[in-house]
Symmetry: C2
């Protein structure tokens, strides 16, 4: 795995990051910065309103398979959460794409990770396969999340 | 990056895989098989109707930053497609989760990858952050996809 770039956000440390990029009332502008050698891979990205960013959560704590989430009262398996301390610390975030500020510099909203987090991949968000409005959210809907 | 398990699908080779796991009229049952040491991380997964699987596309061709997709008439950047030959060949699929056949053996639908593909991560699908029905799909909606 090699970084294709990094993200720029207002959050300098993990502790400052929002639990969910959509929670802040006025989600700040963030950027995804792609290394020059990968810029050709961005062509035809214009017109997608949303993207999937995969990031390397390189400052996550060591993997914990079970833990008690904040505001919860019992242990959950890490694969039933979006916590960063996963066996493979890859973050996945659906972001709004607001265009290119310059080649290789994407303007985005709804990121939730630390400034400087390495970027592994950018994928177009496809509502035909990635959007499931009727999905249910297990323990997160049982009044504890 | 270490595999946490693998997936079982009806498709033995890349050539047999559907372009999109939702295209087959009767999407076949597939399985995600998690290695014993990671099974504790699956607790509380019950009740989520959909999951995000990250897979290692270990048989993908060498990265190509630009290529002409099937049924298209011009080159696109790989980051504007879901093609497997990416700089970091990580596949992301939203699947329906139909429960555990046994501990560590998940029944799923809508996978699109080759039998035996290594599994890197399982995340709960959260419609509150992962679902954007109003999203637009760029070149894929311009009559060429």
């Amino acid at each position: 795995m090699i970084p294709i770039g990094h993200v720029e956000t207002p959050w300098a440390t993990l502790a400052e990051c929002p639990r969910n990029g959509r929670q802040p009332e006025n989600p700040p502008l963030c950027h995804a910065v792609v290394l020059p050698e990968f810029i050709p891979g961005l062509s035809s990205l214009e017109g997608f309103s949303h993207l999937i960013l995969l990031t390397l959560l390189d400052q996550a704590a060591a993997p914990r398979l079970r833990f008690t989430p904040p505001f919860d009262d019992r242990e959950r398996g890490v694969f039933a959460t979006r916590a960063p301390w996963r066996p493979n610390p890859i973050g996945m975030t659906v972001v709004a794409f607001e265009g290119f500020e310059s080649p290789g510099r994407l303007v985005i909203r709804f990121l939730d990770c630390r400034n400087g987090t390495p970027l592994l991949d950018i994928k177009p968000y496809l509502r035909t396969t990635d959007c499931v409005p009727e999905s249910s959210m297990g323990w997160l809907e049982q009044g504890v999340g």
